[in-house]
């Protein structure tokens, strides 16, 4: 069945929810439709699911408070399984659908880079993709609004921390064989230039697989003190587990893209001591207004779900969408795109986005992530 079956499933789902939505639409002045293309299955499925969850929770909160100028917010999602070809197909579908205002909550660098030109020429905004790639922060894409700090900032934070440690002069990197991995590698190389720390091993692995063992041997042979993983949670978990199996125990650092909670779920108690750079505040830090509202919205949406970094990012994305829409008189694809292009930054409950904040955290045995300093 494969992808076709998935597509059919989702289409049916979409139709049914649309029909359901129509019946309840009568109370609203209208509806603002946002679209998401993200991995909802496969090796990066959790990333897309968490983003989707966050956006929907945010939308529901806004709708419960009267929507945006009497308009209801709604999200539709299509699975791209972290494959760029499918992402293109999904984006074409959304562009062709006239009532879609903008795309929101995409996941991944290659998938985003594959569609960003298409969206720019269709004057459709691309809101808060879960990627820190420099390419999406380029001025030639005024319709892209990034919420998170860039990968470079994350790498920078990691390297700076390593530099403060006594024994951390040797670094290695496991990176996905795609633009995401490359951007990580490039950022690391840039950051290490001029420092005493050295990059002693750089090992690629095939994206969307856990075929990291060959890379592991390469890394082990170079004997770095720290290893930066530029990949998703499955590959990272496999590396970490097998590293321990063969007795290779460097400090492991992950970028936020890895999916912190998913990684913890994969490794279980073995996740302890693994470092993850975060671009969002901790979802357990209830003192923060943003986090408190997020947690409330999440409970309202789906009581049994645990708060995660990624769903918090999705929530912020949703809130950004609502705030932007609220500033426009007549929300259309064009007016939304123009608003994004003109917007330098926005504040959501004390968090200024685009954010350049990176928090380095370390996993605890219970799966929580505590900041290190």
């Amino acid at each position: 069945m494969g992808r076709l079956g998935q597509r059919i499933k989702l289409t049916v789902l979409g139709v049914v929810s649309a029909l359901a939505g129509l019946s309840s639409l009568s109370a609203w002045a209208g509806e603002l439709l946002f679209a998401q293309s993200a991995p909802l299955s496969g090796n990066a499925g959790q990333l897309g699911e968490q983003m989707r969850l966050g956006v929907r929770a945010a939308f529901q909160e806004v709708n419960r408070n009267g929507g945006v100028n009497g308009h209801r917010l709604r999200l539709i999602s299509l699975d791209d399984a972290y494959e760029p070809q499918q992402a293109i197909s999904n984006a074409e579908t959304f562009v062709g659908q006239d009532d879609v205002i903008a795309m929101i909550g995409g996941v991944g660098t290659p998938t985003s880079m594959a569609i960003v030109d298409l969206l720019a020429s269709a004057k459709m905004a691309y809101l808060a993709p879960m990627t820190g790639a420099g390419g999406l922060r380029d001025k030639k894409y005024p319709g892209v609004f990034n919420v998170r700090a860039s990968y470079h900032a994350e790498v920078q934070q990691i390297v700076q921390w390593i530099a403060t440690q006594k024994n951390g002069a040797r670094l290695g990197i496991l990176y996905q064989d795609d633009s995401y991995g490359q951007s990580g590698l490039t950022s690391l190389r840039q950051e290490l230039a001029g420092r005493r720390e050295l990059l002693v091993a750089a090992a690629p692995y095939m994206r969307n697989t856990t075929a990291v063992k060959g890379a592991l041997l390469t890394l082990r042979d170079a004997a770095p003190d720290s290893v930066l993983i530029v990949g998703t949670y499955r590959a990272a978990a496999a590396l970490i587990r097998w590293s321990r199996k063969i007795g290779f125990t460097p400090r492991f650092f992950n970028l936020s893209f890895v999916g912190s909670e998913a990684l913890a779920a994969e490794l279980g108690a073995a996740v302890q001591g693994i470092y993850v750079a975060q671009v969002m505040p901790s979802p357990s830090q209830q003192e923060q207004a943003l986090v408190a509202r997020y947690r409330r919205a999440l409970i309202d949406f789906d009581g049994g779900v645990r708060p995660t970094y990624i769903s918090l990012e999705g929530y912020v994305a949703g809130r950004v969408a609502a705030a932007l829409a609220g500033q426009i008189d007549k929300v259309t694809r064009q007016s939304f795109y123009a608003a994004i292009a003109a917007l330098p930054s926005l504040e959501i409950d004390g968090l200024r986005v685009p954010s350049n904040q990176v928090f380095l955290t370390m996993a605890q045995a219970d799966g929580a992530f505590e900041p290190v300093n």
């Binding site: 992808r3 697989t209 856990t210 075929a211 063992k213 060959g214 041997l217 097998w242 063969i246």
Partner: protein, 707 residues
């Protein structure tokens, strides 16, 4: 008059009937012409309808059939080029519709009389080809869609296999290097992990991975093959690749192998060489396309043959049509000739009718009557009309004749009346003239009397003049003697108060006064005699060019002075209203002078009379004017004296008529003036208002000769 009229006998009937007869004749001719031309046109029409009903429709239908056939052929490429079943069915529908129209067109052509068996056969063939093509196309499209789906699946499969194989290679390599296969089991020793089997497995996995890539490339090439012949080599290459893969797979198959890959390889084989695999589908598609192309070619050929057939039909029809057209042309020419000649005939007939009949019967007679009327209007009623016939025009002539006679009679009566009137007028004038003559006669008699009287008085006056002279002389000398005596007495030294002196003075004064009286009366008698003498005198002297203004001024002044001398208290003055320029007339100066003198004297006397009786603030004035009024020279003497009453004015110019005392006027002055003016062919006039004044005047012809 008019010439002999051969149509006279027609005039027995009324004009309406006459015209009717002629018009009827003309109509008959026109009808005949119309019948002939109608017949001729009918002939042409028959030919034309023959053409229209038979030849032209067939042409049209033939062309229609040809056109439909071409349209059918043009639709075929669209069918073969349809991208999906929806478009295919649309195009097939269109084709079917056009084919139906095509069949109908053939039927119509057949109904019109053309032999259409060949066409029907061709139509049947085309229908068959169309169905064949439809089937082939549908089959091909289904296959194409299936191929697309298969290719999508192959792409997904390729990625999946790549990932899985990479994973497998990764794991195997790791195992070989570390002896670890799973997290839970301990590492195996070098002997196991470096065993030939394990090394071979690693090698084969790598081989499989690389060969798989080749296999996918071959399968991609299958999708874009254009010739079924190319499929076989591709199939060979596929089999070569797959045998390598299977070979490798043999080594990986088993409980310690990467069995997970095997189902995917099975799927790959299915997608490649299975019943609905890409090879089969590509083969079907390409072969179908060739078949479709064949069918299209056959259809085109059939249509070409059909079109040729129709061309032949059209050519035949055209030939027939031309024959018919030639016939029609012949009819038309004949028709032209007949109609033309009849039209000429009618035209000539009308002309003849117009000329001979209308002219003679109607026009000429009307002209004749009209000219007769004109003559009568001019006044000549003597020409009588010739009347014949019994129609309206004849009646007109008859009536006109009657009228003429009556008018003539009336005219004569008029003439008689006019003459009578003239006669009466002449009688009146005659009476007047007789009256005038009588008056003239009276005047002549009077004049004769006066002339006789004048002669008498002249004779008497002559006789009296002498003794009068004596009387005057002696009385004057007596007055002188009295004066001398008075002087002598004065010398006597007598006291001026003595009675003798006083007596002598008194007697001498009385004596002188008596003498003066005698002298005065004698002078008066002298004057009378002179007047009487002048009465008889006719105009004396010759006429000459005289300046009147100077003459008038001079004699007016003379008159005024003489009156002043007679009556020193007279305050009247003479005012002149005369032109600056000289006024010249050819007159007897002496006579005109006498007239001016007379008039001004009379005017002064009249003023003196008024001044005497009403001294008051009366300012006597005598106004003398000379003016040229048109052809007359007018001299006016206007006074504001006593004026004259009516009866006086009437008689003022009569001789011996006077308003003055006997010792002042003789009553002859104005009479003489009157005569003098008349002798100059002039006129005297008088105006007067009693108590206000009088105006006497005379006018002379400006350039006249006195007569």
């Amino acid at each position: 008059m008019h010439p002999a009229n051969p149509f006279k006998l027609f005039t027995r009937y009324s004009v309406g009937v006459q015209i009717g007869i002629a018009v009827f004749g003309a109509l008959v001719l026109v009808l005949a012409s119309a019948v002939v031309s109608g017949f001729s046109i009918g002939q042409i029409g028959a030919v034309q309808s023959h053409l229209l009903e038979r030849q032209l429709p067939r042409q049209r239908l033939s062309l229609q059939v040809s056109r439909q056939a071409s349209e059918l052929v043009s639709l075929l490429p669209r069918i073969t080029g349809a991208q999906d079943l929806v478009y295919l069915s649309v195009y097939l529908n269109e084709y079917e519709q056009v084919r139906k129209q095509f069949v109908q067109a053939i039927e119509r052509l057949g109904a019109a009389g053309e032999p259409v068996e060949v066409l029907n056969l061709a139509a049947g063939d085309l229908a068959g080809y169309a169905n064949e093509l439809a089937d082939l196309s549908k089959h091909r499209l289904r296959a194409q869609r299936a191929l697309l789906t298969a290719q999508d699946e192959l792409v997904a499969l390729e990625l999946l296999l790549d990932q899985k194989l990479t994973q497998a290679v990764d794991d195997q390599l790791f195992f070989v290097m570390t002896g670890m296969r799973t997290l839970d089991k301990p590492a195996l020793g070098e002997r196991e992990r470096h065993s030939v089997a394990e090394l071979e497995r690693l090698h084969q996995l790598s081989e499989v991975q690389s060969h798989i890539n080749g296999v996918f490339a071959v399968l991609a090439a299958v999708g874009v093959a254009t010739d079924p012949a190319h499929l076989q080599p591709l199939r060979e290459r596929y089999l070569a690749g797959m045998s390598r893969v299977n070979q490798g797979g043999m080594f990986t198959h088993g409980p310690r192998g990467v069995d997970a890959v095997w189902p995917e390889i099975g799927q790959l084989e299915q997608l490649a060489v299975g019943h609905d695999g890409v090879f089969a589908l590509a083969d079907t598609i390409l072969r179908n396309q060739i078949s479709e192309s064949d069918v299209v070619d056959k259809s085109r050929a059939a249509v070409r043959a059909l079109v040729d057939n129709i061309d032949q039909i059209i050519v035949d029809n055209t030939a027939q049509a031309q024959v018919a057209m030639a016939q029609a042309s012949g009819s038309i020419s004949a028709g032209y000739v007949v109609v033309g000649s009849f039209a000429a005939l009618c035209f000539l007939g009308a002309l003849a009718y117009g000329w001979f009949y209308v002219r003679n019967i109607l026009t000429q007679r009307l002209i004749y009557i009209s000219s007769a009327m004109h003559t009568m209007a001019e006044g000549d009623l003597t020409q009588s009309l010739e009347v014949y016939g019994r129609d309206e025009i004849s009646r007109m002539a008859k009536s006109l004749e009657v009228f003429r006679r009556q008018a003539l009679a009336a005219q004569r009566l008029n003439l008689v009346e006019k003459l009578a009137e003239e006669l009466e007028q002449k009688n009146n004038r005659l009476r007047d003239t007789v009256g005038q003559l009588n008056r003239a006669q009276e005047q002549i008699v009077l004049r004769e009397k006066l002339a006789a009287l004048g002669e008498l008085t002249a004779g008497v006056a002559h006789e009296i003049k002498n003794p009068l002279n004596f009387v005057n002389n002696f009385s004057d000398s007596s007055i002188d003697l009295c004066g001398e005596l008075l002087e002598v007495v004065g010398e006597l030294e007598l006291s001026e108060t003595s009675d003798e002196y006083l007596e002598i003075k008194e007697i001498l004064d009385m004596l002188r006064s008596n003498m003066e009286k005698i002298s005065g009366h004698g002078q008066r008698a002298n004057r009378i005699v002179n007047s009487m003498l002048s009465l008889g005198r006719t105009a004396e002297g010759e006429a000459s060019t005289t300046e009147l203004v100077a003459l008038v001024r001079e004699h007016a002044a003379l008159a005024w002075h003489s009156v002043r001398a007679a009556f020193p208290d007279f305050t009247g003055e003479v005012v002149y209203d005369v032109p600056q320029d000289p006024v010249v007339a050819n007159v007897v100066a002496h006579d005109i002078s006498r007239v001016v003198l007379n008039l001004v004297t009379n005017a002064c006397h009249a003023c003196w009379e008024r001044q005497k009786s009403h001294p008051g603030d009366y300012q006597p004035q005598i106004r003398v004017s000379v003016a040229q009024v048109e052809d007359w020279l007018e001299v006016r003497v206007e006074d504001n004296g006593v004026g004259m009453r009516e009866f006086v004015r009437e008689q003022i110019f009569n001789p011996f008529f006077t308003t003055k005392d006997t010792d002042v006027g003789t009553g002859l002055g104005l009479s003489i003036s009157f005569d003098l003016v008349q002798s100059h062919k002039g006129e005297m006039f008088v105006e007067s208002t009693y108590g206000r004044g009088s105006t006497f005047g005379f006018k002379l012809p400006a350039n006249g000769q006195p007569g």
